[in-house]
Symmetry: C2
Subunit: 220 residues, 2 copies
């Protein structure tokens, strides 16, 4: 994918990001923060107190058009939400180091793994928290405790699935660090809120997590 928009606007003509709407403790914003750190990009940040419902405040909703966090404001007024869409735009503006593939085949393989990690690990963890913890009712109006319970074993399945993958691949999507590893490490670190650890038998996963944690970008 490399340089942006050769038959559309070139990267230089694309609106620059001017502000990230962030929430320090939530997992999706952290995906974007790590992506930014790995790219060496710094941005003005507007922190939202989501546990106080600040992302639902009328003035915020009027500006952003949704309560979703993170959101990226661009110089032309465009608001982007959805972490992966935000990351793909940043990748086009700042292609190096590539985190979403250097050509369409790499990009497709990375997107495939990124989504697998989302569906098989990231989302089950979120369901256990949001439907199993009464304090989360501010974020999940109608909680379904049975769904939280149903997802506990799915988290374990997801961890074992990812461990098997990492037994034969240095990074989640292949030989290089990518956005799939970002989604993976954010999911793994977020497991503290559901008191889940990497199972002892998942040694390839534990070794991978140690390597990812050692990256400077991972402090984000």
């Amino acid at each position: 994918m490399g340089e942006a928009g050769e038959d559309g606007r070139g990267a230089a003509a694309l609106p620059r990001p001017v502000r990230l709407y962030d929430a320090a403790r939530a997992p999706n914003p952290r995906r974007v923060r790590i992506f930014l750190a790995e790219k060496g990009i710094t941005l003005p940040v507007r922190e939202l107190a989501i546990m106080q419902g600040e992302h639902f405040a009328p003035e915020h909703m009027a500006k952003i058009g949704t309560h979703h966090v993170p959101a990226l404001e661009l110089a032309d007024g465009t608001i982007l939400t959805e972490s992966v869409a935000i990351c793909r735009y940043l990748e086009a503006l700042t292609p190096e180091p590539p985190l979403m593939g250097r050509d369409p085949l790499e990009a497709a393989v990375i997107e495939m793994w990124q989504r697998r990690v989302e569906f098989q690990l990231f989302m089950p963890i979120g369901f256990v928290l949001r439907h199993g913890n009464p304090a989360m009712q501010v974020l999940e109006r109608v909680q379904c405790p049975e769904w939280a319970e149903a997802n506990r074993p799915r988290v374990l399945e997801g961890l074992n699935w990812l461990d098997r993958r990492l037994q034969t691949s240095p990074f989640i999507a292949g030989d290089e660090f990518s956005i799939a590893d970002i989604t993976g490490i954010v999911a793994i670190d977020f497991m503290r809120v559901i008191r889940q650890k990497i199972p002892e038998e998942c040694s390839a996963l534990a070794e991978w997590a140690e390597r990812i944690h050692a990256r400077p970008g991972c402090v984000a």
Copy 2:
């Protein structure tokens, strides 16, 4: 994104798709079939009888590496799964007509809307079906009927949300037909399995659905 991989492999050097692993009645494969039809691409298809569990058969799993459908086999042996990753690869090989954006900003806005439709409509419909219908246990081993019930009102919320969007935009992601509309129409049509119709008050959504159904690609 236009021509593929100017600093990686050019489109001509990328492995061609040789076979689509399909399941006629499932919604995710239909997303890819409509995408192919809109691009004017035809591919050999291997149909899988998922209600008989054919996608879990050992010989199939050994080849594909997962039970997920759809899957795209490439000439170099690569197997791609995840509908959106498959579509993005096809978009790079066959850029016209563009369905995922002509430049990085269009691409980000389309990806944002595509994901919103997935999370706010497509997935709630799937949860109602897979957790609420005992016949679906072949696909969803551990069903959670409470989760099916919790998603009924989310489907209605999603329909009303999409209707509001389409009151001010001709297509879901903006002025042109895109992959976001494909995800949207597949979700809407799939509602028959949960006996949900477009509510009468959602006239913008109904008008949009009629326009999308009139497209030749939508028969897929």
